[in-house]
Symmetry: C2
């Protein structure tokens, strides 16, 4: 058996390098020679990594200790360079929160996070109030109220369960910077009933 966790750590380190690459691809003002050299190096990396590719997408895979892991997830996946990645913390009372620094890759209005990025992150964090290991919850509805622009930089995202009604978890949350709330959200998340065994 190969050392799965060691391989995952290599892949995670690669993803971390690609995150830096995304940032400088947007922000570079280097000249044509440097850009051409960088592009050639990226293309070579693509070639090496393509030697063996899984079909489709990453999905959810079991780790060596049997826990499901979503390493390709667009928000929490350590192998997905698009993901910050978020680390969602859970308090004893069931409230969840994360802190993340939004960089140039998430820009909409100049100097600000795209409203859609705020929606994407809130969907995930509100949903996390209903997620259980191996038993994900799916978004039913999500409503967002934009209080003001969310400047790029560090933000805190938090959510809590408002009430539970059968398979529906009603959650509320917000994004805030150091001046207070920028976006408020409410959502209903559905936990599918398990099929009888």
């Amino acid at each position: 058996m190969t050392d799965h966790s060691e391989a995952e750590s290599d892949y995670g380190q690669l993803a971390e390098s690609v995150r830096r690459l995304i940032d400088v691809t947007i922000r570079t003002e280097a000249g044509a020679t440097s850009v051409a050299a960088a592009t050639a190096n990226v293309d070579y990396a693509v070639e090496r990594l393509s030697e063996v590719l899984m079909p489709g997408s990453f999905g959810v895979r079991p780790t060596v200790d049997g826990q499901p892991v979503a390493s390709g997830n667009v928000l929490i996946g350590i192998r997905n360079p698009v993901a910050p990645p978020l680390t969602v913390h859970r308090n004893a009372d069931g409230a969840v929160w994360t802190e993340v620094t939004l960089g140039a890759a998430y820009e909409g209005p100049p100097g600000h996070a795209h409203g859609g990025v705020c929606a994407m992150i809130l969907d995930h964090v509100l949903g996390a109030t209903a997620h259980q290991p191996g038993r994900p919850a799916y978004t039913g509805t999500l409503t967002l109220r934009y209080v003001r622009g969310t400047p790029l930089g560090p933000v805190r995202v938090e959510a809590r369960v408002d009430r539970i009604d059968g398979v529906k978890t009603f959650a509320k949350g917000r994004i805030a910077d150091n001046r207070g709330t920028t976006v408020e959200a409410e959502g209903v998340f559905i936990t599918p009933v398990r099929a009888p065994q």
Copy 2:
């Protein structure tokens, strides 16, 4: 004066290579030697591109012909590898639409787009009904109803103005695959009143 459009084309080609790199970073099953070689090449590309970096983020910059361009935008920016990038088309009646193929980088539930990705794209496309060149509209509220999961693959996203009330544009839209609607959305977008000259 340097040939700005030629430089932008080099940067766009680089971003296209980085998009392929993101995909294979998630999907690779190559061995440790190949992953290490790829990581070294990515790090070298980062170094070359970092020779000259703009501070902060890309923002909105004028092109040679004076049109504002948001090349760093997380949804439409040709220099942003996180962006598909979307090309939003506008019909004569003001309705807007785009077609995009969602790959492994946008995954949430296995084989499906993350609900937050659907929210992000709908925010942008609904907002596009209210955007005017050089005069962006900002999201006031956005409500999403998830009808069923959105499989990774090609989708069509469309939106239209429902009504306009002063600075507020009320828009409706949806994401659909070849089997029909997966997510419906309604939003209110605010066009700030210009300050008196």
